[in-house]
């Protein structure tokens, strides 16, 4: 019986709301979050563009291949002077 009285009380419970004021705040928050999302997307796009730019700059024939070899062609680096310098201190 107590349980049903408790539920009845919850059913009858009402709380006044200022829908117009909350609507303004919702619109403001939604706009702010959309702007933040766009900013994050732009940031991610900028990072991707920078990475792609660096990749193509370094992989051009005119660039020093030893740097890219470190990243893309491990075998070529094995006999390179860089390894001698690192392990023996000589070129």
């Amino acid at each position: 019986m107590k349980y049903y009285n408790f539920i009845k009380e919850l059913r009858e419970h009402s709380s006044p709301a200022n829908y117009q004021a909350m609507f303004e705040r919702i619109k403001h928050k939604a706009g702010k979050r959309a702007a933040e999302r766009n900013l994050k997307l732009l940031g991610a796009l900028a990072v991707v563009l920078v990475v792609v730019g660096i990749y193509f700059t370094l992989s051009r024939p005119g660039s020093d291949p030893s740097i890219m070899n470190y990243v893309f062609d491990e075998e070529k680096i094995n006999d390179s002077p860089i390894i001698s310098y690192v392990f023996d201190g000589t070129f």
């Binding site: 107590k2 408790f6 539920i7 919850l10 009402s14 709301a17 829908y19 909350m22 939604a30």
Partner: protein, 164 residues
């Protein structure tokens, strides 16, 4: 999505969302926070609404999930606050609970999911199948949440005549 669509959704469903949040949490500030968060999420998700379920079920689902995660976060925050108080890192005065909020005391013993299931079923008169869809839970889990929730409330009510 045209802004007008969102405005229409707000106009049509604001009272249902407010009613559910009012029955789910005691504090007015928490109700307003949940209510606003629900509609911010609806504003974001409305363009992707594919009408796989009715708009009302979809809105109930967002409301229920927002309210559950709000309460989970709040419980974690309270736990941290209590730990810090015990360690004397912070000192806070015990909050004075308005009489209105004492009415919700028995619900505090339930976990956020049980609390939502009990409210949806016993207060909002939703069917078990509907709750299962709204909360994305198997029907067996909904039933056990309801059973345990009711049991805990009954025991709390028996133990605390003075509160109510």
């Amino acid at each position: 999505m045209a802004e007008r669509d969102f405005d229409q959704v707000y106009t049509d469903h604001k009272e249902k969302v407010w009613r559910l949040t009012s029955r789910y949490v005691a504090s007015k500030q928490d109700r307003e926070d949940i209510f606003q968060e629900v509609f911010v999420r609806i504003h974001k998700a409305l363009p992707n609404f594919r009408e796989e379920s009715s708009l009302e079920t979809w809105i109930y689902r967002i409301t229920a999930n927002t309210a559950i995660s709000f309460l989970k976060k709040q419980k974690r925050y309270k736990l941290l606050k209590n730990t810090l108080e015990k360690m004397n890192v912070v000192q806070m005065d015990a909050p004075v609970e308005p009489k209105e909020e004492l009415k919700f005391k028995p619900l505090d013993k339930l976990n956020p999911q049980q609390r939502m299931v009990v409210i949806l079923h016993d207060v909002e008169d939703k069917k078990l199948e509907e709750i299962s869809v709204m909360l994305d839970l198997p029907i067996g889990t909904v039933k056990s949440n309801l059973f345990r929730g009711r049991d805990t409330i009954r025991k709390t009510l028996e133990d605390s005549h003075e509160i109510l």
